[in-house]
Symmetry: C2
Subunit: 432 residues, 2 copies
């Protein structure tokens, strides 16, 4: 049983105006714990905490309701978190009978709030899509982009602000959604300086054809997740009814799928900075609820491998670019020694260098990338069990009015159910 406490019962005696809902895709307990290890590279008595740690309130169960699978994908998990209904893997806010499910973003819009979605993946990718769209298949990213424009509520657009990657799903031969959005009063931006200057809360920002480059590989003309979050909050916070903003650190999960611990740590850093931005706003504003969680964990990453009781994150911190970035530079003909000097703080053994050189001779980017990842995993005692997801419970972090409702062990659907009730200001008891 979860009792939805009304505002007067919560610790903050303020009313709720804004909701910022954040998902670190794939950011399970091994990831949040490893990220803290990164901040504590020496033996220690007192640990340095991450920005998430002070806000831990509980854990949630991530199971889908799929006829054949019991470990969730991002689509089913995001549907549960956005609609309160478990569904099959691949579903974008439709149930197992393929009926559209109302999302908390839609409820927010119905209740007069401004709305936004932000992701470092294509903004049409499964997780953001489940908040702002409905589709029987996560792969229909053109349709999802169309629906962001076409699906209306009371004749009006339901998403005011969209920031992320995925330009190729909006600017197409058959249809240029950027122009259609602009015709309806939206600003359309494609780089960091335009983002930082923007004042229009009707905003479409697409900063890459597909996904946004990972934080440590990112060119200066592409904004960070923190900068997108900051602009979004500034633009959406101009309305007495408040706003609902969804923010995803999309590529934590991708680092996990790719067994690339450097990318994972890069993307958690990007997400942590955006989380700090949200928390700082909420602390000043006092009328904002911030929820951050994961949709599942990824890759079967464990802290420690093969009997070793030491996870040595030093090598991860010594990489200034991802293994994939270094592989691409080397494929383009860069000198290995130059690359190692420029982009790492490691002293490599002759065997390690030899392994990288052999990989370069194959001219296969994944072989070169794997050579780096193997070195990093071996040095750090990092290990992986799957290129898919894993089923363990994931952490929930909360701050602001109503945060008490997200404490303890919840189902992923409970989070949406609570948010519907909060948005609609009803006081009810949810059985589960």
């Amino acid at each position: 049983m979860i009792t939805i406490l009304n505002n007067s019962q919560t610790s903050k005696k303020t009313f709720l105006r804004n909701i910022i809902f954040m998902i670190g895709d794939g950011m399970g307990v091994s990831y949040t714990s490893a990220y803290r290890y990164m901040k504590n590279q020496d033996p220690f008595e007192q640990v340095k905490r991450t920005s998430f740690d002070p806000y831990l309130v509980g854990q949630q169960m991530t199971y889908p309701n799929d006829p054949f699978l019991n470990i969730t994908d991002s689509a089913a998990a995001a549907t549960a978190l956005a609609t309160g209904v478990k569904t099959y893997n691949g579903a974008i806010s439709v149930n197992r009978e393929l009926k559209k499910l109302r999302t908390i973003l839609e409820a927010a819009k119905e209740n007069g709030k401004l709305t936004g979605i932000i992701a470092t993946s294509e903004i049409t990718h499964a997780t953001p899509a489940a908040f702002g769209s409905h589709n029987t298949d996560r792969n229909n990213m053109n349709e999802i982009a169309n629906s962001y424009f076409d699906e209306r509520m009371n004749g009006k657009h339901k998403i005011d602000l969209l920031l992320g990657g995925g330009e190729e799903f909006f600017v197409r031969k058959d249809r240029d959604l950027s122009k259609e959005f602009m015709n309806d009063g939206y600003s359309y931006i494609t780089n960091r300086s335009e983002l930082l200057k923007n004042k229009n809360h009707k905003l479409l920002g697409l900063f890459a054809k597909r996904e946004i480059p990972k934080m440590i590989d990112r060119p200066k003309n592409i904004p960070s997740l923190e900068e997108m979050a900051h602009t979004a909050i500034q633009c959406l916070n101009q309305h007495s009814n408040g706003f609902f903003l969804f923010i995803e650190g999309s590529q934590i999960d991708w680092g996990g799928h790719n067994h690339d611990i450097v990318s994972v740590m890069s993307e958690i850093t990007d997400f942590e900075k955006a989380f700090n931005c949200a928390i700082n706003f909420a602390r000043t504003d006092e009328h904002t609820l911030v929820i951050a969680t994961a949709d599942h964990s990824t890759g079967g990453f464990t802290i420690g491998a093969n009997g070793h009781y030491y996870w040595n994150s030093e090598t991860i911190g010594a990489f200034k670019r991802t293994p994939g970035y270094l592989a691409n530079e080397l494929l383009l003909g860069a000198n290995l020694n130059d690359i190692l000097l420029k982009y790492t703080d490691c002293l490599f053994t002759s065997d390690e260098v030899k392994n990288i050189e052999e990989a370069i001779q194959t001219y296969k980017p994944e072989k070169i990338e794997n050579a780096f990842k193997t070195i990093i995993d071996k040095r750090t005692n990092t290990i992986w069990t799957t290129d898919g997801h894993t089923g363990e419970d994931v952490p929930i972090y909360a701050y602001g009015p109503y945060k008490e409702n997200f404490a303890g062990l919840l189902d992923n659907t409970d989070i949406a159910k609570c948010l519907f009730e909060i948005i609609e200001r009803k006081q009810v008891i949810l059985a589960h």
Copy 2:
């Protein structure tokens, strides 16, 4: 910052008399989540919860303070949980300077409480030892057994009740501690029927030479962890000052080290029943705080493997004995078909049977056991990354007065610090 709330500020308006502190050794988030999957073998919308789930309040960090290692062993973790001080791996409630550290069991005894320790390992094993003993090395189990008798507080024994395995460390050629305890008024028991009849709160119960057999392999004359917990609570609950009882589900961890998911589930079931016993007592008593947590996670077990999005626990439930038990029976000459019919509900493929038969031909128990474990892991999509421990945060469960103090993200040392303050009824603020 953790504010230690006094009784009047807690949700239960009752004073605290008893503390039951439970550790599921190695029972990390993958384990508690997998155990819930075991209870939900069909696809589902609404999940059946475990007995632990309603009591989740937070997570704790498990790092040791070791000069060379940053993933804890059970000794350093239990020392942190029992004394509030991080130490080196292998230490039994001594610090890095080898000085003895006061334990919460000792604080409870100083404050007039009866005390008890229960484990399914040798009762001299690292985790229970850190609550009732001090030693520079967890392997000194004779010394630890001696100290249970020899270490006094105000001239009296500090541990009133000890139940578990490890008879060979008490009844030795050089010293028979069972007789020494009996001379001091303790009852000494060695089987289930004696346990169930016992009324003496001065009690030494040793039910195996070393560890107690795993729950699903356990002969009828050896008590369950639940029965030990029940007897302990009945015997210790006779004193106005209350009691401190430590209970360990010791072999969840051993199942993890051994990459044996059948044993893991067997031992979590044993621990869950003991947890229910503690909770039921606390719910009736209203003056009892129950804390349950893990010391670390083990084995790098992940729910899902090799890209599969389905963890199929059916095969685990189909085993009525552990793989190690079946291996021993087969080594003693039992017929394979008879064993499979008697002890499993599986239909085995001809390839699976052939693999077991080939293993039997080696006459090596670990080969036969591994043949079963390989079948189970493959069928279930279970996988492991280490024969040691892993470093991710572990869950905290709490019920009763003061439970609020254990919510959120704690350090393992915070749990002991809170318990010291609660036992000593001081109201302070702990910085961390």
